[in-house]
């Protein structure tokens, strides 16, 4: 029996665009757009704002003010958005009045997918022909290595939205394989424009997090705070500059609070990684969890606090060493019919 464990909102969301031919006619959508624009101007008038410069954020705020709702599901609350967001794009009817379909691949069932594959293969053949021409003229093809790390292919859901058709996993993987083959050819640079339709930029991970500036306390010593969690333990750490390397946890020295060597090693890990063992003082508070979880929580908190003292490159090194990620592992729940999370009851034949 299969057990589906991984679900996100994206997976659960129904791909309405691919479910079938259109349920909303074009005239209907046009009328909805007109009504939306009119309603937007009325709303701006009601709120006392200028109808010309009334943005979508203003609309959302106005609706939240006029119709307050305590419902948990955001999609169930009253909303006023442009009709193209509410009525998703759907495929128009694929055949004419005489019943004859427009597209020549209609009877394959997945017409947009197969036409896409045909186009991509055509580009591949073009690239190969170009390469043959170059070798015939004895010119070597220039190979500039494109940086692939910053881009990712479109996911299956995004491709489905683009094609307005349901895809299977096998279809999707075959398409990605074709694109990768096109990339590896030496003359693939010609088809770059075509390939970029299916690429997306991935920003560097570092830029997502904002590093706080240093704060100064009454004595003029620089300090910074950080918070960390691990399993059920929550910790806050305050790291002071110009220190002797003394670390205090809940008012107790670490030698007394953590008798085990492994925990103390974990506390000193961020400092040892940055070669700043004797230079900082630390005062932390921790609650919840067990011995090892508290140590892990303090480690994360101190690493986060140290980010403000250190250059950007060192912060990137800390992230690559795994010091700045929250550990998502928690205790697995016990299931009914089993003794523990994984352990089953003793199997008796009779």
């Amino acid at each position: 029996t299969l057990r589906l464990i991984y679900t996100t909102t994206a997976v659960r969301r129904k791909n309405v665009g691919a479910s079938g031919p259109e349920k909303y006619t074009e005239a209907f959508i046009k009328k909805q757009i007109e009504e939306f624009n009119l309603g937007k101007r009325h709303l701006a008038n009601m709120m006392g704002e200028d109808p010309e410069t009334f943005t979508q954020e203003d609309i959302d705020r106005a609706i939240a003010y006029l119709f307050p709702s305590g419902l948990f599901d955001k999609q169930a609350r009253p909303m006023m958005k442009h009709p193209t967001e509410i009525f998703p794009e759907q495929r128009k009817i694929q055949w004419g009045e005489d019943g004859r379909p427009f597209h020549f691949l209609f009877y394959t069932g997945k017409q947009s997918y197969y036409s896409l594959m045909h186009e991509t293969y055509e580009k591949l053949l073009n690239a190969q022909k170009y390469q043959d021409q170059l070798t015939a003229q004895d010119l070597s093809p220039q190979k500039e290595k494109k940086n692939l790390a910053g881009n990712r292919w479109l996911t299956k859901i995004e491709l489905e939205e683009m094609l307005l058709e349901k895809l299977s996993d096998v279809d999707y993987s075959r398409f990605i394989q074709l694109l990768q083959k096109l990339l590896t050819l030496p003359c693939g640079d010609i088809e770059e424009k075509y390939i970029q339709k299916f690429c997306k930029e991935v920003p560097a991970q570092l830029k997502k997090v904002v590093i706080e500036p240093l704060k100064y306390d009454e004595r003029g010593v620089a300090f910074s705070t950080g918070e960390g969690t691990r399993k059920t333990a929550r910790a806050t750490a305050v790291v002071y500059d110009n220190g002797t390397g003394k670390i205090t946890v809940n008012g107790i020295d670490i030698l007394h609070y953590f008798p085990v060597l492994q925990d103390r090693e974990q506390l000193l890990f961020p400092f040892q990684f940055l070669d700043r063992i004797g230079k900082h003082d630390m005062v932390c508070t921790v609650s919840g969890g067990g011995r090892s979880a508290q140590a892990g929580a303090i480690r994360l908190a101190s690493a986060k606090a140290l980010r403000s003292f250190v250059t950007e490159q060192e912060v990137e090194f800390m992230r690559q060493a795994g010091l700045l990620t929250v550990d998502p592992r928690v205790k697995e729940r016990k299931k009914p019919g089993q003794e523990g999370a994984r352990r089953k009851f003793t199997w008796k034949k009779r």
Partner: protein, 231 residues
């Protein structure tokens, strides 16, 4: 107590009757953390092509949290941590780690004794670093071929099979631990017996090396069945 649901990942569903039991709390795009400080101290030009590509990939992907057993200090060694985990019983890591520390101390003491008693010219050949002794002893204990039971035509044959690196290391550590647990006198403690076995393995003597040679001889004897292997 909140159970975060969106960060759970399981591999994509396979369309036949397979139960997915192995899953992880991390998304598959997360990469393993690299704790070794020396890699980060190298400047950009000194890195080779592969390492540059890896660094570029790491800049874009998220990275898993470092486990609590791993640290960037000089004292943490992946092989020693693996061995400590194998020695651990009922999750008592504190006891296992203290036993390991006592073993390494005992090895160092014995070697220092030997060092002070030896004449001048032999002093350089005696190895005093317990980590080096541990690594060398494990290397000496690793078998090269193993036996695998393959059923063909109703009969089960023991076929000689090349072993992977992980499997070799695992077998060496397993033999060491079982040897120390079973073949010791009633009053002898684990660290003492382990240090004895480690030093014997370092000099290529002792029961574990003998076990390795026996396995090699069996593989040599069953050479005729080697063609039964299909991988």
């Amino acid at each position: 107590r909140d159970t975060p649901r969106a960060s759970v990942y399981s591999p994509p569903l396979v369309p036949c009757r397979l139960t997915q039991v192995r899953w992880s709390r991390y998304n598959p795009s997360f990469l393993e953390p690299e704790v070794n400080k020396e890699l980060y101290q190298k400047s950009w030009e000194q890195l080779s092509e592969e390492e540059k590509e890896k660094m570029e990939l790491k800049a874009v992907r998220p990275i898993k949290a470092a486990p609590p057993t791993v640290s960037s200090s000089v004292f943490s060694d992946p092989m020693i941590s693996k061995f400590t985990n194998m020695m651990m019983k009922d999750g008592n890591k504190v006891l296992a780690r203290s036993l390991m520390a006592q073993t390494l101390e005992a090895v160092k003491r014995k070697q220092l004794e030997k060092y002070h008693k030896a004449p001048e010219d032999e002093k350089e050949t005696i190895e005093c670093n317990p980590y080096v002794i541990f690594h060398q002893a494990l290397k000496n204990c690793q078998p090269i071929i193993g036996l695998s039971s393959i059923t063909k035509g109703g009969k089960t044959y023991q076929v000689p099979v090349p072993l992977k690196d992980n499997r070799k290391r695992f077998l060496a550590m397993k033999w060491l631990i079982t040897e120390c647990r079973e073949n010791k006198n009633r009053r002898m403690l684990m660290p003492e017996k382990l240090s004895q076995e480690l030093l014997q393995a370092f000099n290529n003597e002792g029961p574990i090396i003998k076990k390795k040679h026996v396995l090699h001889k069996m593989a040599e004897a069953n050479r005729a069945y080697a063609h039964f292997r299909w991988w």
